[in-house]
C-alpha cells in the first residue's frame, strides 16, 4: 500500500533486535563527542577585537605555555549542548517522584524576574545607596519566611541546604559557648536523617549520637530521655521525617531537649509538606534551614545552585552571621561587619550576601501562590502522596502503614523477597517506562527503600499513569517476568553504567590519547 505521496504505509514486521546504526546515533538521541575531541584551540565562538598593544604589567607572571582549551564556533556549541540536554530527564520531561528531593514544576516567571537587570546586573559591593530595591526584595523574602515559619530571625546567606545546616549548627554552637556551655558536645541525630546532618555535626566537632526510630518510624521521646546527658548540645530533627511521617511527639521532644539545656535544630528539607499548615516556630524549633529550591521551587539545575536560608528562634537570633538586614528608623541597610547592639554574629558563611538569584525566584513563587495557594500546594502534595499510598498498598509493601504519609510515601522491598528483583531493578524499569525513578535505598532505616514524592505538580491523570505503571511492574514481578528487569534500562541513552569500574580506576578528566 502506498499513500498519496507514494510512500509505503505499511510499517513492516516488527523486528526482534534493534538494528545497529552506522553513526551510533538513534534518531533523536545523537552520540556526542567530548569538546576535547571535536574542538580546536584556534576556533572561537566569540568575536572579540584585538587588544590594543600596551606595556604589560604582568611582571614575570605572563602565561607562557598554552592551556590546551578547545573552542567551538557558536553553531557547533549550540548543537553540542542541545544534544547533551536531550540525554537528560528533567521535571519538564515527566514525573520525577524523587522522594526528599522535591522535584516540582519550576515556574518560568522566576527565571524572567531573576534576569531583570536590576537584580541580575548589580554588584554585591556597589554602594548600598544604589541597591535599595535589592535590599527590599531580600527583606520581603525574609518577612515571608518568618511569617510561614513563626520564627524570629533569618540568616539569608547560606548557599544550599547543607550550608544552611552548617549555619544553624554554628549558631547553636555560638549560643552554647556564649552561655559558657561549650562542653556540650553531643548531637542527637535520628537514623533516618539525611547524611548531611551527621556530617555537619561532625564537621563542627560535635559527637554524633544516633537515635533509633520506634516501630512506627518516628522518634520516641523515651529514647531521647535515655540519651539526654548534660553533654547534649542539640538534636537535629527532620520534620516531616525522611520516612514521610510527621514527628508526632516533636513538641514533647523539643521540651525535653530545652529542659536539658540543649537546642533544637530542624532539617527543613521537607518543609514543603507543611507550608501554611504548621509553623516550626510553634513546635519548639530553634533553627531550621529552608531549601528554597525545594519548598519554593527554584530550579535544581542538575545539582545546584540551591539556597538555604536559616530561620532562628529568639535564643539564636543574636548569633546570626553577617551580612544581615537591619531597619534603622525606616531605613533599610545591610550590616556587613559590625556587631554591637545586642548582636554577636558568629561570623560569615561566604563572600557575599547569599543566593540573590534564588531569592528573586522564591519570592516570585511565594507571591504567585499567595497565602491560599501555598496552603493548597502543601495539601495537594500530601494528598497526592496518600493517593499513591492507597493505590499501591495492596501490591507493594509499606513499612509504616498505619500513620498518614505526608508529602512522600515510603515503601520497602519486602514485597520483592525471593523474586530475584531488587529495588534498583524497579528504579531502572521505571526509566524504561518514561519516569524518573523514586529515591532508592534512602532512608537507611528500612531495607531496599523506595521513597516516592509526587509533589503538587502532577495532574490526577499523571498520578494514575504512574500508579498503573507500578502495578504493572508489580504484576511482572509476581509472574517472574525477569526479562523486563534484567539489564534495564533498555531504552535510555545508556544502559546500566559500570559504577564499580568508575570508582576503582577513576578517570576524572580527559587526557590526550597516546598515539602509537
Amino acid at each position: 500500500m502506498l499513500n498519496r505521496q507514494g510512500r509505503p504505509t505499511d510499517i513492516g514486521e516488527p523486528t526482534e533486535a534493534i538494528p545497529e546504526t552506522f553513526t551510533g546515533n538513534r534518531a533523536l538521541i545523537i552520540e556526542e563527542p567530548l569538546i576535547f575531541e571535536s574542538g580546536r584551540p584556534e576556533v572561537t565562538g566569540v568575536d572579540l577585537p584585538e587588544a590594543p598593544k600596551v606595556a604589560h604589567r604582568l611582571g614575570a607572571l605572563a602565561r607562557s605555555a598554552p592551556i590546551g582549551l578547545p573552542g567551538l564556533s557558536e553553531p557547533e556549541a549550540m548543537r553540542h549542548y542541545v544534544r547533551l540536554s536531550q540525554k537528560n530527564f528533567g521535571i519538564d520531561s515527566g514525573m520525577f517522584p524523587l522522594g526528599s528531593c522535591t522535584m516540582k514544576h519550576n515556574p518560568r516567571l522566576g527565571e524572567k524576574m531573576a534576569r531583570l537587570a536590576g537584580f541580575a546586573d548589580i554588584h554585591p559591593l556597589q554602594p548600598l545607596s544604589t541597591v535599595p530595591g535589592a535590599l527590599e526584595l531580600m527583606e520581603r523574602l525574609a518577612q515571608a519566611l518568618l511569617e510561614l515559619t513563626g520564627m524570629q530571625a533569618v540568616a539569608l546567606t547560606p548557599k544550599a541546604g547543607a550550608h544552611g545546616e552548617l549555619c544553624g549548627m554554628m549558631a547553636i554552637k555560638a549560643a552554647l559557648e556564649a552561655r559558657g556551655e561549650g562542653q556540650r558536645k553531643v548531637v542527637l541525630v535520628p537514623n533516618s536523617a539525611h547524611g548531611t546532618n551527621p556530617a555537619t555535626a561532625a564537621l563542627l566537632g560535635f559527637q554524633v549520637s544516633p537515635l533509633a526510630a520506634r516501630d512506627d518510624g518516628t522518634v520516641d521521646p523515651a529514647e531521647v530521655v535515655d540519651q539526654l546527658t548534660p553533654d547534649v548540645a542539640a538534636i537535629m530533627l527532620t520534620n516531616p521525617n525522611t520516612c514521610g511521617l510527621f514527628e508526632r511527639d516533636v513538641v514533647q521532644i523539643a521540651e525535653l531537649i530545652h529542659q536539658a539545656g540543649g537546642l533544637v535544630y530542624a532539617d527543613g528539607a521537607n518543609f514543603n509538606a507543611i507550608v501554611g499548615k504548621v509553623r516550626p516556630g510553634d513546635l519548639g524549633v530553634d533553627a531550621m534551614h529552608i531549601n528554597l529550591h525545594k519548598t519554593f521551587s527554584t530550579p535544581h539545575g542538575g545539582g545546584g545552585p540551591g539556597a538555604g536560608p536559616v530561620v532562628l528562634s529568639e535564643t539564636l537570633a543574636p548569633f546570626a552571621p553577617v551580612p544581615f538586614l537591619r531597619r534603622d528608623g525606616g531605613r533599610l541597610t545591610l550590616v556587613e561587619h559590625e556587631s554591637g547592639e545586642g548582636v554577636s554574629p558568629f561570623g560569615r558563611m561566604s563572600a557575599f550576601h547569599g543566593q540573590m538569584g534564588m531569592f528573586v525566584r522564591a519570592l516570585a513563587y511565594i507571591l504567585s501562590h499567595g497565602a491560599d495557594g501555598l496552603k493548597q500546594a502543601s495539601e495537594d502534595a500530601v494528598l497526592s502522596a496518600n493517593y499513591i499510598k492507597a493505590s499501591l498498598a495492596d501490591v507493594m509493601s509499606l513499612p509504616f502503614p498505619d500513620r498518614p504519609a505526608m508529602h512522600e510515601v515510603l515503601f520497602d522491598d519486602s514485597w520483592l523477597e525471593d523474586t530475584g528483583v531488587t529495588t534498583l531493578d524497579i528504579a531502572k524499569v521505571l526509566i524504561d517506562e518514561g519516569f524518573h525513578p523514586m529515591t532508592v535505598y534512602f532512608p537507611l532505616v528500612v531495607h531496599g527503600a523506595m521513597l516516592i514524592e509526587p509533589t503538587e505538580s502532577e495532574s490526577k491523570a499523571s498520578l494514575d499513569l504512574f500508579i498503573a505503571t507500578l502495578r504493572d511492574i508489580a504484576m511482572s514481578v509476581r509472574r517472574g517476568d525477569t526479562a523486563r528487569f534484567a539489564g534495564a534500562p533498555h531504552f535510555a541513552p545508556r544502559r546500566r553504567l559500570d559504577e564499580t569500574r568508575a570508582a576503582r580506576t577513576p578517570v576524572l578528566r580527559w587526557t590526550r590519547p597516546v598515539v602509537e
Partner: protein
Amino acid sequence: MRYLPLTPEDRAEMMARAGIEGVDELFADVPPGKLLGDLPDLPPAKSEIEVERLMGRLAARNVAAGAVPFFCGAGAYRHHVPASVDHLIQRSEFLTSYTPYQPEIAQGTLHYLFEFQTQVALLTGMEVANASMYDGSTAAAEAVLMAHRITRRRKAVLAGNLHPHYRDTIATLSRMAGDELVVAPPAPSDAERLAALIDDETACVVVQTPDVFGHLHDLHTIAAAAHANGVLVIAVVTEAVSFGLVSPPGAMGADIVVAEGQSLGNGLNFGGPYVGLFATRQKFVRQMPGRLAGETVDADGRRGFVLTLSAREQHIRREKATSNICTNSGLCALAFTIHLTLLGETGLRRLAELNHAGAVELADRLAAIPGVSVLNHTFFNEFTVKLPKPAAGVVEALAARGVLGGVPYSRLDPGHPELADLLIVAATETATAEDRAAFVAALTDLLAGGEGA
C-alpha cells in the same frame, strides 16, 4: 492557581481512594493545637502580570551595572556573556534536572561536568578538579579543611592580601571546627613575608593571586618553603579570566587551587549564585570535597559518565564524610563551561588581553590625577589606588555622579582605618574607553573640589 493541576473533583476522588473525608485527616499527627486554622498573613495569589509589576518596581530602584560606567570587582566581575549561554542553560533538561544519581538518564549533565572538570584542571594547571562548589570563598574554606585532613595538622596560615571576606569565611569555619589560624596583616604595597609564619604545626598556607589589591604573585618561593615543612599551598583566584594571561598556580607549586568561576558565563547577581572551582593533585583526590564525575562504560560497552568516588560523601559516609556538601553549583558550572567552550584558547586569551589592556590604560590615567597613586607594579584587570581622602566617601560621591567607581578596601575590612584611602578598581572588557574617560573625569573633578565633592 495556575501551577496546581488538581481540580476540586480530582481532590474529592483522591480523598475517597485514601479513605478520608477531609485533607486535614492526613495531618492527624500534628500535635493538638498546632495545625493552623487561619491562612498565613501574606497577600493572596497574584497573576503573572501583578508579580512582574511588583518585581519590576523593585528592580528599577537599583542601579544596574550596565547602565553606568562601572568598575567594581573585588571578587565579582562584570563580563559580557554570549547570548547562547543563557539560552542553553535554560534548556528544560538542564534547568529542571536533578543531581545525576540515575546516570542513564543524566548523561547530559555528567558529560558536561566531565568537560568542566577537565577545563578547570587545564586552567589551573592541576591534575584533577571537582564538579564545582558553592562559590570561591566556600571552596577556599573547604580547601583548608582538606589540608587539615591530608596533613593531620590543625593550623592554617592566611596571607594578609587574601580577600577579607574569604578570610572571614575561612576563619568562621576553622574556628567552629576547632582549627587554628594565623592571619598576616594586609600588605597593600605587596611585601608579604609568609614563610616566617610557617612552622611544623602548619597544615597549609593560603595565598591569593591576583590578590585582593590586584598584585600578581610568583608562588615558587612560598611553595618551596611550605613543601620543605610538609605544608600544602592553597592558591585562591577570584578572577577566572586571569587564567587566560597569567601563569597558573598549578605551574608554581600549588597543591590545591580554588577559584571563583563567576566571571565566565555568570552574571553579578548581587553576589550569588556563583560557582566555585576546586582543583588539586591526583594523589589527594580521595580527600577532596564535593561531587566528581568520572568516565566508565555501560552494559553495551559504550562510553558513559557517572558520579564517582562517592564513598567520600555524606550520603554514604555520614559523620565520617570529607564534607557535608551535597550539591555542586551545577547550572552555574554549565554556564561557565559553555562560555569557556565558546571562547576556546584563542578567545580566552584575547578576552584576557582586552581586560589587561583596558586596566593598564585606566591605571595610567588615574595615576596622573593629582593626589592619586597606583600601588601596583603588577596586576591583571584590577589594581588599587591610594586616594587623598577616604575611599568610601569618594565612591558615594562618584555614584552620585553616575559612576560606580570601584570598591573601597574599608568596605571589605573596616578593621584597618589606616587603609581607608584605598580604592580597588577593576576594568573589564565591558568598560569602554568612554566609560574609563568618564571615570577619570569624574574623579578628577571630585578631587579638585568640584560640585558635589
